[in-house]
């Protein structure tokens, strides 16, 4: 978060979890020594998702040929398996490693540029070029604006963020600074519906509970539909109100808030707490409803489920 997007991208693509998740660990160059010998070959999953989801975007102007070429360049990027470690005991099991015998030999052409590098540097050079591509600047700017400003990101904010991305060569601190300085980010009309993760974290903060059993926490994330590391697809979690604010999802939030309220009982004065947490945002009508609740736990449920607390 304090470095450049380029480093972030390369580290993500070398991360063992990503290598396994998108099948890169098993991909072999079709004419590489390993590809010719064993019963394995190319897998284009990671290459495609890098182009589509992490950099250029689906409308970013790449072709199937670019995907295949990039996938070939990525061959050899894998992790230390048990057989590899048996041969080279100094390697750490499960860590990233480049294995030349898996790598598809020869130059690769991606987005019209030819990469003649040998070995690991070839895909790294492609990733570095992708990381500063203008389409990538737009992708990242749009994601940030959607996440921090509103579901329909204001075009001016996206343009400003994209310009900052390009100007700073993808420096993440520069982007964060730009974001904080944008008037759109402070517009009272621009609001975001909390994701389950936002809601659980902020809800626990509101209650002041600083110790929650792991099981209870996992149960909460499961109930609310956002289990960590279990995003439904490589695209990650939805980032808009329409995806999270369905009636059923609201019911699940009430259930969780109610369970939390019951657990805390009268150890909290809900109206005061809501006032402390929400400040000027707390409407008189909500404050009154919390004060008139039939019990402290119902009051806390109402505070957690109030529109003021559900939107950020």
């Amino acid at each position: 978060m304090t470095g450049g997007f380029s480093d972030l991208l390369l580290n993500v693509c070398r991360h063992p979890a990503m290598l396994l998740y998108l099948d890169q660990a098993q991909s072999r160059g079709p004419t590489s020594p390993a590809g010719q010998r064993a019963n394995t070959g190319l897998n284009e999953n990671l290459a495609r998702e890098v182009l589509e989801l992490m950099t250029l975007g689906a409308q970013g102007g790449y072709t199937q040929a670019d995907v295949t070429e990039f996938a070939k360049a990525l061959t050899g990027w894998t992790l230390v398996s048990k057989p590899v470690r048996e041969r080279v005991p100094t390697l750490e099991l499960g860590a990233f490693v480049f294995i030349p015998q898996f790598h598809e030999p020869g130059p690769r052409t991606v987005l019209g540029k030819t990469y003649a590098q040998a070995g690991e540097d070839q895909a790294a050079a492609i990733l570095r070029d992708l990381s500063v591509h203008p389409a990538t600047a737009r992708t990242i700017a749009t994601k940030l604006a959607r996440h921090f400003i509103s579901d329909e990101p204001p075009p001016g904010a996206v343009a400003a963020l994209a310009a900052a991305f390009t100007r700073s060569n993808g420096s993440l601190p520069a982007l964060h600074e730009t974001l904080i300085g944008l008037p759109e980010a402070w517009d009272a009309q621009a609001r975001k519906f909390k994701s389950p993760n936002d809601f659980i974290v902020s809800g626990l903060r509101l209650t002041g509970l600083n110790k929650v059993e792991d099981r209870a926490l996992i149960a909460a994330y499961t109930q609310l539909g956002q289990v960590p590391y279990r995003a439904p697809s490589p695209k990650g979690w939805p980032d808009d109100a329409a995806s999270w604010s369905g009636g059923d999802a609201l019911m699940k939030r009430i259930e969780w808030a109610q369970a939390l309220g019951q657990r805390l009982g009268s150890s909290i004065k809900p109206a005061e707490r809501a006032n402390d947490v929400l400040g000027p945002v707390l409407r008189p009508v909500t404050r009154q409803a919390i004060e008139r609740a039939e019990s402290a736990d119902q009051g806390l449920t109402l505070a957690l489920m109030s529109p003021e607390f559900q939107w950020r």
């Binding site: 495609r48 149960a219 609201l250 019911m251 259930e255 119902q298």
Partner: protein
Amino acid sequence: MPHATLTRRTVLQAAGALTLFHANSGSAAAAASAERKLVIVILRGAADGLSAVPAFADPDYARLRSRLAIAPPSEKDGALPLAQGFGLHPQMPFLHSLWTEQSLAVLHAAASPYRDRSHFDGQDVLESGGAKVFAIGDGWLNRALAPPAAREAVGIGRTIPLILRGPAPVKSWSPSFIAAPNADTVSRLMDLYAGDPVLGPSLAQAVETSAIAGSANMPEPGGMRGAYGAGANLQMAEAATKLLSAPGGPAAAAMSIDGWDTHANQGAATGQIAQRFKNLDDTLKALKTGLGTHWAKTVVIVATEFGRTVAMNGTNGSDHGQGSVAFCCGGAVKGGRILGDWPGLSPKALFEGRDLAPVNDLRALFAAALAQHWGLDRTTLETRIFPDAKGLARFEGLITT
């Protein structure tokens, strides 16, 4: 953790609190049009149509598919025979029984108009009904609910899928694993949500929906794993049938089954994809069982965003492709038919040399269901529900009218 649902009493309380919100719904015409049920099952992740419905008689099938190939019916673990050299994956005996009783039609080599290979964009086109990615912001099934019939629909799952998003109000439901909300708390929240255009209507619909589905006899608690695994799909199917069958229940339901992106170790008659097909088969069976007498007037369509490469990839799986298969089944379907054209698997016939050519437009199947089952007229279908879709195949006589 014991499984708890809304009790009858709290349901009635909550429903009572809701009367004001629904004072003007439920005309006699709407009740009549709601008798014909339409269920859309979306297989997310690009399900392999050549594994679901193997074209075992195609001269190129076995060679190209290699270890993904399903054997002909005469061999061990072979396909369940359909017609014209097609079969069903051996893990789908229920679907095969529907074929035998002529309640299943199959559209092969089918796809939306989307011609790239992104799951998310493909699902956008499949569900929006647009001709291009992001051309339309709402879903075709939602648009098909519009007046005068003013049908209702329910989304089964934790989020409302795009296919059901849009101007017509829809309900949603998913399985719950902890204590149900206190009806009094819900009613107080209703007051707080009065001015919120998103949360107000959303909570109102939820109370009404959980009053029906929540009283369902759920299968065993299932625990946290149940929320993701095969059990959850059955539970969702069962809830869908309860909601659809309730007096005045919705005419349509949409649910999703995930886990079809079989890039590695896909398997054939057994293995990863076989388990998915078994679960799909069980889920469809649960729909039929749960719908009871409503099954006779039900159409279920199973579709996916696109298919997979014909040839096996380097990791015993398949990559993103084009044409896949869609199922149209139910008591209202006049089945036992393979619909559309078959492009074959010869090198020249493949799309970009790798994928089953998408010669049949999925929108034609959706439109046929909406036309024959719900009586939507062709002009509405080819302009408003599916813009830029003139001249779709009509599949006349597919559904009992």
